[in-house]
Amino acid sequence: HFFPNISSIPPSLLKPNATAWAAFQKLLGCHSGQKVDGLAKIKKYFHYFGYVNSSGNFTDDFDDILEYAIKTYQQNFNLNTTGVLDGPTIQHIIKPRCGNADIVNGTSTMNSGKPPAGTPTMHTVAH
């Protein structure tokens, strides 16, 4: 569906929160140790974009794998690395985005694949 410009978009398309992932908003505040309906779906989301390696049966348990995935995601998107599905993280997750994975075959050169800022690097010289 193509629209020549914004003024040609019909009001019927005014759909706040009409994103494929809007349902994730109900997971706001979820943290490690909880079991909440919908966490399995967000695990699938993280699997799709490379943050969870295993493709087995995802449960609604907020386990270590999910916490690690969230922390990695937060690092890649410059969010506070809380490991919790906090407001800024959820707001970011539901944004429309490119379908390509952020982490391919377990490796990434986004933030999570780089040493933290300020990490000293070793320089060597010929003796």
Binding site: H1, F2, I6, T19, A20, C98, N100, D102, S108
Partner: protein, 200 residues
């Protein structure tokens, strides 16, 4: 900036790339011109050129709008969600979600909250991003870069950031006519098979 694993890129001997649109989409010239502008943004900073061809099968880059499952293992999910995806070189597959509402005009969009509440996406912003993938760039954590993975509601992002330019020039070198920030020669340029720098 980042690259795909193994840093795939188009061969040094192939600087003139062709692209074609899926005939079944029957895109208008106006829509095609959006892609032309998007390709131009990358050719301005690299020695690469992009030319439209009528032959979809023989084109280096194949652009198509698809809905749902389109047999590449990455089905689209309807309006919003994932917007498009593209394959690393030299595959050349550039797929856009045919169920999105695409805005094709290039005027600034973020003049208020109107657009941000719409389920509509700026086509050129997505096109510029996906072409970055077609050239070998992965996602970037730099928020104002083209290769940042998300496109916030109401956002039009079509200008290459320094991060994007540095990334693509590390793969292909700079366009001799490019007057922006210069980047240094890289191993991918210096270590060509015949030892001759191909770019810059």
């Amino acid at each position: 900036y980042s690259f795909f694993p193994g840093r795939p890129r188009w061969p040094a001997s192939k600087t003139d790339l062709t692209y074609a649109f899926l005939p079944a989409n029957s895109l208008t010239d106006t829509i095609k011109s959006v892609f032309s502008r998007a390709f131009d943004r990358w050719s301005e900073v690299t020695p690469l050129t992009f030319t439209e061809t009528a032959s979809f099968q023989s084109a280096d880059i194949k652009v198509g709008f698809f809905a749902g499952d389109h047999n590449d293992g990455e089905p689209f999910d309807g309006p919003m969600g994932t917007l498009a995806h593209a394959f690393s070189p030299p595959a050349g597959h550039f797929h856009l979600d045919g169920e999105e509402n695409w805005v094709i005009d290039g005027v600034p969009i973020d003049d208020g909250n109107f657009f941000s509440t719409l389920s509509a996406v700026d086509l050129e912003s997505v096109a510029v991003h996906e072409i970055g993938h077609l050239l070998g760039l992965g996602h970037s954590s730099v928020e104002d870069s083209i290769m940042y993975p998300t496109l916030g509601a109401g956002t039009r992002r079509v200008e290459l950031a320094n991060d994007d330019i540095q990334g693509v020039q590390e793969l292909y070198g700079s366009n001799p006519n490019f007057t922006g920030p210069s980047t240094t020669l890289t191993p991918s340029q210096e270590n060509d098979t015949n030892g001759t720098p191909k770019f810059g």
